[in-house]
């Protein structure tokens, strides 16, 4: 498990998406964590210190795993970059027809004609 800084993590995530276009999946996991053991956490709680929580982000393509930890200060910036990466790579999802009239019209046409697509 490779723990990276924010920007290298984003770069690696991008290349992971690019590599898995033909085959394979990309998993991204988000979890809250303090990155400290239970004993340390209990000590901090009894001492009255504020426990700093971070968001742990892990990404894998089934073979290689990378991870990074995002704090409250960085999460806005990370969020923006992460959204950009996802938008850029999730291109194989279907786009819906906005007009429902077109859908019903197409369905009528398909029922009337054969199943071969016509090139207009």
């Amino acid at each position: 498990m490779v723990l990276l800084q924010l920007d290298p993590f984003l770069n690696e995530l991008t290349s992971m998406f690019e590599r898995s276009t033909e085959t394979g999946s990309v998993w991204v996991t988000l979890k809250r964590s303090t990155l400290k053991s239970k004993a340390v956490r209990n000590k901090m709680a009894t001492a009255g210190e504020a426990i700093e929580y971070r968001c742990l982000i892990r990404a894998t393509n089934g073979k290689k795993t990378i991870s990074t930890s995002v704090g409250a200060k960085d999460h806005q910036r990370f969020q923006a970059s992460y959204a950009t990466i996802l938008k850029a790579h999730m291109t194989s999802l279907k786009k819906r027809e906005r007009k429902e009239k077109k859908k019903s019209a197409e369905a009528d046409k398909r029922e009337g004609t054969s199943k071969r697509p016509k090139k207009s």
Binding site: G24, S25, V28, L30, Q79, A83, L86, L93, K95
Partner: protein, 103 residues
């Protein structure tokens, strides 16, 4: 596996799940480009909620959900989600202004 059909229900239940046990709840996203499928999972190791889709418009909704989770996890479960509601308010205001101008 429990696949939820309504997006809003999925969002509401997963936020509830997170608020109930913030240390154990995790949010997983799996994307397969070759199949064109996206699956989201939220679990606290006791209960599991899943949502799957192949629509591009759902990806935009998922981005908003990502923002919600980032805010919840980085700042803590007591956060008001005012970011999300703040955005909704800013979306609502220009439409109201538009109606005013037309009148």
């Amino acid at each position: 596996m429990v696949y939820i059909t309504s997006w809003d229900e999925f969002v509401e239940r997963s936020v509830q799940l997170f608020r109930a046990d913030p240390d154990a709840t995790r949010y997983v996203m799996k994307y397969r480009h070759c199949d064109g499928k996206l699956v989201l999972k939220v679990t606290d190791n006791r209960e599991c909620l899943k949502y799957k889709t192949d629509q591009a418009q759902e990806a935009k909704k998922m981005e908003k959900l990502n923002n919600i989770f980032f805010t919840l996890m980085a700042r803590g479960p007591e956060v008001d989600l005012s970011e999300v509601t703040g955005k909704e308010q800013t979306d609502a205001q220009p439409t109201k202004r538009g109606r005013g101008r037309k009148q």
